[in-house]
Each structure stands twice: as C-alpha cells, then as structure tokens.
Symmetry: C2
Subunit: 290 residues, 2 copies
C-alpha cells in the first residue's frame, strides 16, 4: 500500500457513515497489515517510522471512535520489538500483530453479541437506535427468532433503513420509525439495546446522536437499557476527553436554500448517555450491572 493508496483509504475512512466504530477499527488494522507488508521502505527503522505515522493518521481520522485508537495503541507495542536487521521478518511481525488484533476484536464482538442475545427471550420486542456491527451480530444470531425489533431511521443518513432490510433478510419483524417517535415506541419494548463508539471511565457511553434520548425514554417507561460494546471500546483516561465528530451541514438540510447569516445548521454525530441511565454494559466477558 503506497502513500497514494493510503491517502485514499484514509479519506474513505474519514467519510464513512455506514459502519460503526468496531468495523472501522478492524478496517484500520487491515490497512496497517497491508502497509506493513507492502510499503516502500529500505530499513526496519523506516518501516517503524512510516507505520507509526500511518497509525497516528488513522487514529486521528475518527476521533469519536475509541476502538480505532485503543486497537492501534495496542498494536504499536509490536514496533519496539521488531528485529532491527531483518526487514522481511519485521514486516511479517508487524502485519501478524495487526491480524491477531483484528481477529481478537472480531471474536470479542461475536462473544459480546452472544451475551446480549442471551438476554432476549422469545416474543420480546427490542428497540435500538442507529447501527453497529455488534448489534447487527446480535440480530444475526437471532435470525428466524420470534422477536420484534423497533428501529429508528437514524438521521441524517437514515442508516436504519439498511438495517431494516438486513433484518428482513433474516426473517425478523421490524418496525421502522423516525427518531422523533422514540418517545412513543420505547413504551412497547421489553429491552433497549444499543452499540457504542466509546465507553468512558465513568460508564457513560458515546454513541450516535439520539442514543441519550432513547435512554431517557427507557428510564421514563422503565424499559431496561443495555449497551453492547466490546472492551476495546473502553476509553482509557490517557486518551483524554472524547471528541464529538461533526459532519457537513448539507447532510441535514439544503444549505443553499437556508443561506442566511442568521441560520446555523449543526450536524453532531454523537451524544453522551450518562451512566445513571444504563441498566447494564455487555462485553465479551459478560454483563456488568451498576
């Protein structure tokens, strides 16, 4: 993967609105693997330098998505241990470390989904917001089950519509609503289940904007609210406060027709759900309750 190809991959990653944090983190490890194997360098020292730079660029591209940062930080441990005089072996060790982490992350996601699936009983209704690979895997494990899923369209880019189509392929009954109807439909659900882009040290959760509204509605209707997120999503204090990514206003409204010095369109993608609204955190090790 040469510099141009890396630049293109980085741009795609920064613009990606269809995949959740875990999936993009695994894409980053894939990019690192290809970079380790193919980047045009002559020495191990150069390899170390290029890979360090690329990892930093990848981590910075999606500041709200903690697993990208935690997995790349963990991967960087391998760099110090690379054999200084054997470039081929160094490439292989760096690539293998990235692949191992990718598999570890994938397994953690599947195990997390299994713990979540075990909370769900036949004939129950589950409400969710936005899309995450972990939540998708929960429903994949529940395909053909007698459950009903209420899901939001998830503005601005309506990724809930794609999830509805996916669930229909798995023979799962789905009710698609606008985000604004969350207050109406949470009352019908036995369980609210969401993914996460980050879990902070105090247990609060960063996820797609609107998640905090679902959590508030769940408390009001006494619906248990669970967060489903592998431990890679736990944001270490060393990473500092999380950033709330903001995307183009054009995604929200036709900017040209609303052009006025008096109108500002905001498009923040993430909000923070405080820990006191959360009934349980599900990761690959099981369910943790407050």
């Amino acid at each position: 993967m040469n510099t141009l190809e890396f630049g293109q991959a980085l741009a795609e990653l920064a613009a990606d609105r269809r995949h959740g944090a875990s999936e993009l983190a695994r894409q980053c490890l894939q990019i690192i693997t290809q970079s380790a194997r193919q980047v045009d360098v002559q020495t191990v020292s150069e390899l170390r330098q290029v890979l360090t730079e690329r990892a930093a660029a990848l981590a910075a591209s999606r500041p709200s998505m903690t697993p990208i940062q935690t997995l790349l930080v963990r991967w960087q441990d391998v760099l110090a241990a690379l054999p200084d005089r054997d470039l081929a072996a160094a490439r292989d060790q760096a690539a293998t470390a990235a692949q191992n982490l990718l598999e570890e992350s994938d397994q953690a996601m599947h195990r997390t989904a299994t713990h979540a699936r075990n909370l769900i009983k036949n004939n129950q209704t589950i409400i969710t917001h936005s899309v995450s690979s972990t939540i998708r895997e929960v429903f994949h494990q529940l395909r053909d089950a007698q459950i009903r899923v209420i899901l939001t369209e998830s503005r601005p880019l309506y990724e809930g519509r794609q999830l509805a189509e996916q669930l229909a392929d798995w023979n799962i009954s789905t009710t698609l609503i606008t985000d604004a109807q969350l207050g109406l439909f949470t009352a019908e659900a036995h369980l609210a289940l969401v993914g996460a882009d980050a879990i902070l040290a105090d247990g609060s959760v960063i996820n797609k904007a609107g998640t905090s509204l679902l959590a508030l509605a769940a408390r009001e209707h006494m619906t248990p609210f669970y967060v489903c997120a592998e431990s890679f999503k736990q944001r270490p204090a060393t990473l500092g406060e999380p950033t709330y990514e903001e995307m183009a206003p054009e995604e929200v409204a036709p900017v040209h027709t609303l052009a006025s010095p008096y109108i500002t369109i905001r498009n923040i993608y993430f909000d923070r759900t405080p820990a006191h609204l959360i009934s349980g955190w599900i990761n690959e090790h099981g369910v943790q309750r407050p």
Copy 2:
C-alpha cells in the same frame, strides 16, 4: 361554499402538515362562516342541518387537534338560537358567531404569546420542537431581539426548516438541528418552549412526536420546559381520550424499496408529554405552574 368546495376544503384540511392546531381551527371557523353565508338551502332548518354536518366533518378530520373540536362545539351553541323563519338573519347570526370565535381564538393566541415572550430575557437561548402558530407569534413579538433559537427539523416533513427561514426574516439567530440532536442541544438552552395540539385534563400535553423527548432532555439538564397553548386547546373529558393521528409511511421512507412482509413503517404524528415533566402551562390568562 357548495358541497364540492366544502369537500375540497375538508380534504386540504385533513392533508395539511404545515399548520398547527390553532391555525387549522381558525381555518375551520372560516369554512363554517362561508358555509353559513353561501350554502344552497331554502330553510333555516336545512341550514342548521347542513352546518351541523359540516362542523362534525371538520371536527373529525383532525382528531388529534383539540381546538378544532372545542371551537366548533362552542360555535354550535348558536344553532339552537337561530330565528326559525328568517333565513338571511339566521345565515348572518351563524356566520357572525363563527367570526367572533375566530377573533377570540386569534386574540387568545396573541395574548398567550405575549405571556410567553415575557418569560424570555435578552441573550437567552430557547429550544423548541415542531411549529405552532403560537410559538411563531412568540418569536414574531421577539423579532430583532438578542436571543438565539435552537429548533429541530421535525421529521418527517422538516417543517423546522421553514420556521428557521421565518426567524431569519425576523433577524433572530437560529440553530437548526436534527431531532436526534435534541439530547445534545437542550443543555445549551435556558428555556424549552413548545406549542400543543391538546392539553388533557391531567395537564399532559399532546404535541408533535418528539416533544416528549425534548421534555425528558429538559428535565435531565434542568432546563425549564413550558407549554404555550390557548385555553381552547384544553381537551374536555367529554371528548374522550385523544387520537394520535398516523400519516402515510411514504413520508418516512421509500416504501417500495423497503417492501417486505417483515418491515412495518410507522408515522405517528403526536406524542404525549406527561404533566410531571412540565414546568408551566402558558395560556391567554397567564402562566400556570404545577
């Protein structure tokens, strides 16, 4: 207004997504006025019958919008008192009664808005959801004021965009957000202010879907949450439980691409905000607090 014209007016009313309950109630009184003056009848008895039928049809066209029902019920008092043998005088009395109620409703709306305006101080930020003529009048009275308004796009038909343009015309700084960002932006507001389609006997409020989410976010962030609604919107117990109007699923998503026996698209327009989330009810008589 002949039968055909009345049918067209009724269909337009049933399909109207741009105007709030007060405005549509005043349109109904306008239709009754024109009907009283022009409908093709020969006797006062026939006039009474046609007007009673038209009032019932108008009231049934928007079951979630209480002022349509309360104003038409009040207007019908005039029918019994019409002079039996003077059709011209009867037409005039029925029309005048409707016009008087229309003016009374309009004055109540302006007075309500003035009470709301008096709660707002310079340099404050107000958050609102959806559009109501009363809320629009509050901001009309605040034109050129040093305030900031955060408003939601209000899915499915994005009526918030039009309100943003209106406020810009009045030199009011406006921040337009998706409904899903309510949790993020309520924290920035000094005051949440919404209109209502109905206020129930227990003080709970029927308004555009999403209003209950704003109320929940307001409680979480300790932002006062006020409802601005003339007394015509108080739903008498005799009218029974309110209906939550549901509109076409096509407004929410492209139904043809999501055609599947497993997918149901829901488009309920109203939700109910319980009284315990409301800091105050503002009507033409002033502000009532719990």
